[in-house]
């Protein structure tokens, strides 16, 4: 397993210029989307952007640092509630809630990461699973329900576009989320392609060797938790603004499980995988529902298993393998390893 992940973490060997051009084209297409599709589809795509930020964050922890989390829905909930409470109770403008959500989740995630340091594999799975299950119950707790709205949740208003921009609310929110996502992906990219990323991978693959080389494992592992939670919290805030409502039922354990599913389906330790995974968790349940009202989950389960059969290392992994094959056929560049 380690070797496969190591392979998928290897930087792609495509030339930088064509890659940048590709990115630019992609960016233009994405920016044009809200004018090409309906408001409803724009809203769905906004959710895809939001989920992709979560998956990137979870990937930092699970993919790059090898720590499993079955409870990231909890951080998503914290981010969402912080945004909702600030907007609803304190009249804070929506855009100002994003950094607050991120910062708070960074702290909470880091603190949660400290005891989690001693837990590995199954034990960490239990601890995070417990976090995910407990979060809705904590939100309902009577001591804090004057802020959280208890079981009723909080309804918030959708922001209007600023400066009299000729956009509708959905289009504006799409661009707003896209801008935040761009910042988060840029952050994630720099983090993962640099020294920190190498340290995280080293800890995942060779913890003892990493320690010997002077990497502070404990520090990095907690930090990975914190940063991962921060990404998720930012996304949670965006999600709350997009959906205009938060309630304990919005953050059930199934949300956390979808996130994990998204990371794996998208591609472990892959930045682009976050987008594939987000598309999957946004659209595949809808497709399953279209196929069968009687047992939509059964169809969804078949999709999950089917994806893992066809692409055991995720969509991003499969694409990478496909490119490598094409290139080998073309015989253009020699095989590079790792």
């Amino acid at each position: 397993m380690t070797t496969e992940i190591a392979l998928s973490a290897a930087p792609a060997a495509r030339p930088a210029r064509s890659r940048l051009a590709g990115l630019a084209v992609l960016f233009i297409v994405v920016c044009a989307l809200p004018f090409l599709v309906s408001s409803y589809t724009t809203f769905q795509l906004t959710l895809v952007i939001v989920y992709s930020i979560v998956l990137l964050g979870l990937n930092i922890l699970t993919g790059y640092n090898g720590q499993i989390s079955l409870g990231h829905g909890a951080f998503y909930a914290i981010g969402a509630y912080v945004a909702a409470i600030l907007m609803d109770k304190y009249g804070v403008p929506y855009w100002a809630t994003i950094p607050v959500s991120g910062a708070l989740c960074l702290v909470v995630g880091f603190l949660f990461g400290l005891p989690a340091l001693r837990l590995e594999g199954l034990y960490l799975a239990l601890a995070t699973f417990a976090l995910g299950v407990s979060m809705p119950q904590l939100i309902k707790y009577k001591g804090i329900d004057t802020w959280t709205g208890g079981v009723q949740g909080i309804t918030i208003l959708k922001p209007d576009p600023p400066f009299g921009l000729p956009l509708n609310q959905d289009q504006w929110l799409f661009y707003f989320c896209l801008a935040v996502a761009a910042v988060m992906f840029w952050l994630g990219w720099n983090l993962l392609r640099g020294r920190v990323g190498r340290a995280l991978i080293a800890i995942r693959d060779q913890p003892i060797a990493a320690e010997a080389m002077g990497v502070n494992n404990a520090m990095y592992k907690s930090l990975a938790f914190g940063v991962s939670a921060m990404f998720t919290g930012v996304a949670g805030a965006l999600g709350a603004i997009a959906v205009q409502f938060v309630a304990p039922d919005s953050f059930s354990i199934f949300l956390s499980i979808s996130f994990l599913v998204g990371v794996v389906i998208g591609g472990i330790a892959s930045i682009s995988g976050a987008i594939w995974g987000a598309l999957f968790i946004q659209f595949v349940p809808n497709i399953a529902d279209q196929i069968s009202k009687a047992a939509p989950w059964a169809i969804y389960g078949v999709f999950l298993i089917g994806f893992m059969y066809v692409m055991p290392v995720g969509v991003a992994g499969a694409i990478r393998i496909f490119w490598a094959r094409m290139k080998r056929k073309a015989g253009s560049s020699p095989q590079r390893s790792g």
Partner: protein, 290 residues
């Protein structure tokens, strides 16, 4: 004081439920080194099979043993057909397949049997034992069955060559092949046995909580916690872990923090224990020289 005692006994009874499911988790872990998240749903589904057999007029014990056999075959088939193709895939991909199985079994059960709760018969007398109201005969009987399964499981792993081979296959597949163990079949067998144990657990749990497709979804987390707190490689520890979790949860809920936070606090305590003793209260500490 009497209420306190009563709470503890009720906790032991619920703990018995966790223990029985925890045993199935220990079984599959020993045999495959995975924790199968679909374990609870397969147990639930097997219980529906037993229910159908009983509805069809089969005597309880015939249905009971037939269900164990069916569950065993079901487990083997699931491993051979569904899990096999991803054997070589990264562990997280396997986890996703487990999640897929979980939702499939849950959904199928709802589709076939609807979501209305069903009563599942108990093989034990209706009359409470020893003239007490504190605990029902079924609860005592279920704990008894769990202990019997525990004894069988313990002996199986400890004293039979097959049990040893299964542990070996889970731990070190390559070396296992080199001593002639058919590793693929050991995994399938492990799935079969785990699902058979799950079926027993399901049939013991259902009379208490009623049979419905979501019967196991709440229990799985507790069973998982019980198995880990007791030591995932120690069947006896897992059963004790089940009782500990059951009692802890009741006492916390009734006397310390109230019912709305009892799950969270119980889990925090369990995780605390695991931070201090990473291999569980009764798990073996593994030392490996590099």
């Amino acid at each position: 004081m009497e209420t306190f005692l009563h709470q503890v006994i009720a906790g032991l009874a619920t703990g018995g439920i966790y223990a029985s499911v925890a045993l199935a988790l220990v079984m599959i872990y020993q045999a495959t080194h995975h924790v199968n998240f679909a374990q609870g749903e397969i147990a639930m589904f097997s219980t529906y099979i037993a229910w159908s057999l009983i509805q069809a007029g089969m005597p309880y014990w015939v249905a009971f043993f037939l269900t164990i056999v069916i569950a065993f075959v079901l487990g083997v088939l699931v491993e051979r057909i569904i899990v096999r193709p991803v054997e070589q895939a990264p562990v997280l991909s396997v986890v996703v397949v487990f999640i897929g199985l979980l939702v499939i079994f849950n959904s199928l059960a709802g589709w076939i049997y609807t979501y209305t709760i069903k009563t599942f018969p108990s093989p034990f007398p209706e009359k409470p034992p020893f003239g007490t109201h504190l605990v029902s005969s079924h609860e005592i009987g279920a704990v008894g069955v769990t202990l019997v399964v525990l004894a069988l499981l313990y002996s199986f792993f400890r004293f039979t060559p097959l049990g040893l081979a299964m542990r070996a296959a889970a731990q070190n597949p390559e070396s296992s092949r080199l001593v002639g163990i058919r590793v693929g079949w050991m995994l399938a067998l492990g799935w079969g046995l785990a699902s058979a144990i799950g079926a027993i657990a399901g049939m013991m749990v259902a009379p208490i909580v009623f049979l419905d497709p979501n019967m196991m979804s709440g229990i799985l987390l507790y069973a998982f916690a019980a198995a880990l707190v007791g030591g995932i490689d120690n069947p006896g520890g897992a059963v004790l872990g089940g009782f500990i979790v059951g009692v802890l949860e009741n006492v916390l809920g009734a006397y310390v923090i109230g019912n709305d936070l009892k799950l969270s606090v119980a889990l925090v305590l369990i995780i605390g224990v695991l931070v201090i003793r990473p291999s569980g209260l009764f798990g073996r500490v593994h030392v490996t020289r590099v």
